[in-house]
Amino acid sequence: MKPVNLGGTQFQQNVNKTSIICIGVGIVLAIAGMAMNQASILPAYLVGAMYVIGISVTALFFSALQFLVRAGWSASIRRIPEMLGWFAQFALIILLPILIFRNSFYHGIENIPSKAPYTNTPFFIARVIGYCLFWFWMHRYIIGNSIKQDSMPGDYAPTLKNYKRSAPFVLGYALTITFAAFDLMMALEPHWFSTIFGLYYFAGNFVSTISVITLLFISVYNSGELKGFISKEHMHDLGKLMFAFTIFWTYIHFSQYFLIWYSNLPEETFYYIDRTKNGWEILGWASLFIHFIVPFILLLRQDVKRNFTIVKAAAIIILIAHFIDLSWIIIPGYREHGIEHFDIIALMSAGGMVLFFMGLLLFFTAKRMNSISGIAHNDPFLQESIDLIS
């Protein structure tokens, strides 16, 4: 089977155009917001970084997961996450300012002697570099083998390698994303702790990644570039995953909130108290509403998962919700450093940074289309995927 080159296609141009718009609008919003309220620089940067790193790394996980479970349905759409995952290699560059200005980003985390063996700066820097190197390696290995398969028709050695090694990579992903959540977000509240926090970050990332994949899928479907390979059936399956994992996110979020609320221990409750006063409750309610209720109602029925408009709307809403959710976690963490009350300017800066970084992600995704095939055209399960009935 021949490769499909998406370079120079209408689809690539659309992605490019979107990326330029996102970058442009993002820069304007972020700079304007940061100029109006300088205290918003740090939280906005952190929101943007956590957003884009989460999605691009989880795209790698998505691909690895398909190999791990020998998924047949996804072979013809797997290149979408694999192109998104290219950006995960730049995680260290994005996190570099956070490593350099750690003390400004995370106030007081180092001043707790009982935690110092873990939270001291050298170990922190080593860990974060470790995560980034792992993600770099994961991309090289999993996506590398997937691409290698393109040039080896009939010889499944690269795919079989991925079958064999995807499990340890998924395990590594679970650990790195967990500790990244602890080190880069939970550390904003030096005294707070929650065992589910890593899973919480993962849940938001996973549903958002599926949403980005779905949006790109709809775009490439409409452009007709992958005609004969992809069908509405794939969107139906993506829709099911979106539906399932918005509920999963809600379940994880509920587990954390409810147990803390019910037990009412001051050493934990302050986290939610600070996020449900001074206007921050707006974000909490908004994330409940658009991260759960709206997508749930939108995607519940069977037939709507085959309706492009509704699935697209749900995907966009989930991506906005993920932004609101991360902002809710991160921005109030700076309440003692310039952002005391709910601050629409800070939200604007953060939104600008998210748009900017997502624009970069799309830009590199479009660029990637020049160098790799738009279809994993030698994948053993490609025919199965083409024949999919959802």
């Binding site: 089977m1 021949k2 028709p153 009939g154 967990t178 005294h191 702790f193 929650s194 147990l259 083409i386």
Partner: protein, 486 residues
Amino acid sequence: MSVENVTQTGQGSSQEHLTSASYQNNPYPVPDSQREPLVLGNPSIHDVTEKIAGIIEGKANAKYWVAVLICASIAGIGFAAIGETVTTGIGVWGSNNTIGWAWDITNFVFWIGIGHAGTLISAILYLFRQKWRTAINRSAEAMTIFAVLCAGIFPVIHTGRPWFAYWLTPYPNQMQLWVNFRSPLVWDVFAVTTYLTVSALFWFIGLVPDLATIRNYVKGKTAKSLYTFFSFGWTGSMRAWHHYEIAYLILAGLSTPLVISVHTIVSMDFATSVLPGWHTTIFPPYFVAGAIFSGFAMVMTLLVIAREILGLKDYITLKHLENMNKIILATGMMVGYAYSMEFFIAWYSGNEYERTVFINRAFGEYWWAYWSMLSCNVLSPQIYWFKKARRNIPLMFVISIFVNIGMWFERFTIISTSLHHDFLPSSWSYYTPTMVEVGIFVGTIGLFLTLFLLFSKYLPVIAISEIKGIMPGSQPVHHHDEEHHH
């Protein structure tokens, strides 16, 4: 039948709406190891009926009845121990002021957890279109129901006066007494009874077409009239199948949140408290993963034996067992993740009580329970990283027993270690079960096995209609070389 053809059939692939301009068929077949046939020996549709219905129609040998007798006797021991508890009082148990519940709640959680695999296989794998579930879903669902029945015994007898157990349900009464709606124990009552009801319904709906097959097959008069009654006049018409499929899908959709809610609420029995070691936010998903883990181990224990004795090796193949072992490894890693998070965050929190409880868990008086849990649940499944191990039947039997033991110890560890060192050192205590308690637990194992044995003789152990549905030739398929008809 080549592997390639089975692969094609397994997908149920007949697409008019999808015509690939440049791509017709994969010139390179899928690697053999990746899509193994789900039914071996190339049986015909009729052979399947003969095989499964034959188990019911055939006469059970003496060994079977001896096994039933032994299991029922063990169950009898349990009932005797329950009798002792009820007539004498809860004082015959080893619980004390500090450790107010230990054995009973451990066993309750243990049995409830066992049930979860059945629903995962029957509902969640159904929603994920996992066709390999068809050979094992029936027995796993039966197991769910039996396990939930065993689980239900413990909270009821722990009330001390089980004849008042109906007080657990809220109903209007002249004393204006209501259950405490804020207590997770009451949520348990709602969750578990709903779960039992829906699981039984789901199981029964799935049974109806098969019961009709049995109805047509058996010769005895009583048997025929019983199977006729319970197959509800199933005709197998297009219309009947249509309704059936819709009902099945809806029940699968309802069972999925239900099964998660059950173990979520069980976890909240502990996590809503303020006790170090109990109160931690990861408990709900951690308990759900653990429940599925333990349930799969139990399914494995039973099926390894059942496929041998009932001669079902062509239906419950090595492929099925391997898949189950992969799930055991995956869920085992999930509980391992949860153990590590608990331990790490207990340290990271800087909270003295948290740290002490976890160090005490690993190195205190109950160290043996903790390390049994860890080695059985986290270490033993690691062997499943190797394909050879995943397909080694004696080994998987042993590991499944280990996991059963480990998951029992997990609950015991969580419950006892967090309780026995109270905040007040003068009330520190130690718990050892009495013979009566051991008897009740052993009795539930006997009850569980008795019910399973009866099930495997009198009901179709494999979903006949579903297994036929995934066999080659049963779906509209374009074969690109030759036609296969049965």
